[in-house]
């Protein structure tokens, strides 16, 4: 009973980590850049939804605000690549990494300016309700998070394997030059990937905000999600989700069975062990790139 509840809350947290990690991996696979602002994308997505729907701000209906926030973050990611990152094309990876770190600071600053630094919770119809399975009482928010992540995962799987543009995104990440030769507009594909990563981050943020209060610093969750992506195998989409779930599960179990503080350290301890014993991560796709 206790254990099951720990599992569910761990999975719910893990889904959020997994979705942020998915954003990291999407962008890394396509463009070989690491977007360290991915966690802040999530924060921004959550705050846009909150800003649209909370009574203190615009007070629009929740089910209208959510898709708007997701689309806005998608457009934000797309335009960011189109107008900023595309100009960095050919620069070293480190320049792009630093740019994304700086972008994270900027986003946190503006979020604080608009929505303040006090924790606020998203006025969501699913917050604070319970669902009962037999004798088991689970939070509706946690069940929703798991369900939405599952649906999103299946949708992304079909997108990447069954649609022409999805397969082209894979193709462009596996062999960029050949993608150019086949007439795939690689630059536009990159922008679309950034858009997709923005939208996924918004979904993660809304899910996260619907089970607790948020403030502009929650973007730092991205670091934990980055660890999750490395644990799962950086460069593998299923690995990102798996890594997220593992980190999510480790946290409540280590604080329950060892001591409260340990939940903060255990994910990184695991990260160390993974890097030592299986440096490509759990589900690594190790295929050597041709030079």
């Amino acid at each position: 009973m206790d254990v099951l509840q720990l599992v569910v809350s761990g999975l719910a947290n893990g889904c959020v980590y997994g979705l942020i990690a998915l954003g990291f991996v999407l962008i890394y696979k396509a463009t070989e850049a690491v977007n360290f602002a991915q966690g802040d994308f999530m924060m921004l997505g959550a705050f846009i939804a909150l800003g649209l729907t909370n009574q203190d701000f615009l007070g629009w209906p929740f089910w209208l605000s959510v898709p708007i926030a997701i689309v806005l973050m998608g457009v934000f990611g797309y335009l960011l690549d189109l107008f900023v990152l595309r100009r960095m094309f050919g620069q070293s990876q480190i320049a792009i990494v630093i740019l994304t770190i700086a972008l994270g600071f900027v986003l946190r600053f503006f979020a604080g300016l608009i929505w303040g630094h006090e924790p606020i919770s998203l006025e969501s119809p699913i917050a604070g309700k319970d669902v009962r399975f037999g004798g088991l009482v689970l939070g509706l928010d946690e069940v929703m998070i798991i369900a939405v992540t599952l649906i999103l995962t299946i949708a992304l799987y079909f997108y990447f394997n069954r649609t022409k543009l999805g397969v082209a995104m894979q193709a462009a990440s596996q062999n960029q030059l050949a993608a150019y030769y086949m007439g795939i507009p690689v630059m536009r594909v990159h922008s679309l990937i950034w858009g997709l990563a923005g939208a996924v981050a918004a979904i993660a943020g809304i899910l996260f905000a619907s089970k607790g209060s948020i403030d502009p610093s929650i973007g730092l969750l991205g670091i934990k999600a980055f660890a999750a992506a490395v644990i799962g195998g950086f460069g593998s989409l299923p690995g990102a989700l798996l890594g997220g779930l593992i980190v999510g599960l480790i946290e409540p179990f280590s604080s329950y069975y060892i001591a409260a503080g340990y939940s903060q350290i255990m994910p990184y301890l695991l990260l160390f062990l993974i890097l030592i014993f299986r440096p490509h991560g759990i589900l690594a796709q190790v295929h050597r790139k041709k030079v």
Partner: protein, 270 residues
């Protein structure tokens, strides 16, 4: 027999030039890799560009397919200057580049690779029919259609690269070193198919090769490139007989001429 002589003097209505490259200059990083290159590819023919490593052959191909931008010069395809056009617009115009070293999408299946070749097309039914057409030329690919391309052998990957190029329904195919790293037997087979594609599918080809013998045997017209310039141009049959080409590209030893690259001074192109 005056008719026969007349036909010899004016061979069967020379086909139109499909692609004309003139005075092309292109940089590979800071290095000027193409230094005023001019050549033409006639409709329905196979033209080949021979040359040693680093002669600029691949840069020439990349400049035509739009992956690299030229510094100067013109690339006229069907009367339109396509120099500096984007790679996807070049594919849409009917020019497809089958790159050196095959460059398949390693984790996609054979079938997905072929579908990517048809990325610029939106006629799904026709694409499926063309897939079967490709399989008819390369039956081994049909057997492996659900296999990841990275697991294919070198020869099969080369077939897949050519098949993937065909899926774009090209008028002109740029073939970069199709013989690279293949056994002599496989080279023969690939070139037999290249010949058939040229005849049966009416695909005009610009073929870049280091293996001068097979290239000249399959080609109608040949160019020799050195240091970014065309230094010789002639009918493929005549180039095959040429003493210079024999010595420098076919490895036929001729003691008296060794070491003096006479033809380097006598540029035959314009």
């Amino acid at each position: 027999m005056s008719g026969a002589t007349a036909a010899q003097a004016h061979p069967v209505q020379a086909p139109q030039a499909l692609l004309t490259v003139s005075n092309l200059e292109s940089y590979y990083g800071p290095i000027m890799a193409i230094r005023g290159c001019s050549l033409e590819v006639r409709e329905g023919q196979i033209a080949t560009v021979l040359g040693a490593n680093g002669a600029g052959k691949t840069t020439l191909m990349k400049t035509i397919s739009g992956v690299m931008d030229p510094e100067k010069g013109q690339i006229v395809y069907r009367g339109e200057n396509i120099a500096g056009a984007s790679p996807d617009s070049v594919v849409r115009k009917g020019i497809v580049h089958v790159p050196e070293g095959r460059e398949v999408f390693p984790l996609l299946t054979v079938e997905e690779n072929l579908r990517m070749g048809a990325f610029t097309r939106s006629d799904a039914g026709e694409v499926r029919r063309d897939e079967e057409m490709v399989f008819s030329y390369f039956p081994i690919l049909a057997e492996r259609r659900r296999q990841a391309a990275g697991t294919l052998s070198g020869g099969q990957q080369q077939m897949l690269a050519i098949g993937r190029g065909l899926m774009a329904r090209p008028t002109l195919m740029l073939l970069d070193e199709p013989s690279l790293g293949l056994s002599p037997l496989l080279v023969k087979e690939i070139f037999r198919i290249i010949r058939r594609l040229n005849r049966e599918r009416k695909v005009t080809m610009l073929l870049v090769e280091q293996n001068a013998k097979v290239a000249l045997e399959v080609a109608d017209y040949g160019y020799v490139m050195e240091l970014g310039r065309i230094v010789m141009a002639d009918d493929a049959k005549r180039l095959l007989q040429s003493k210079d080409v024999q010595e420098f590209y076919l490895g036929v030893q001729q003691e008296t001429q060794r070491g003096q690259k006479r033809w380097k001074q006598k540029k035959t192109w314009r």
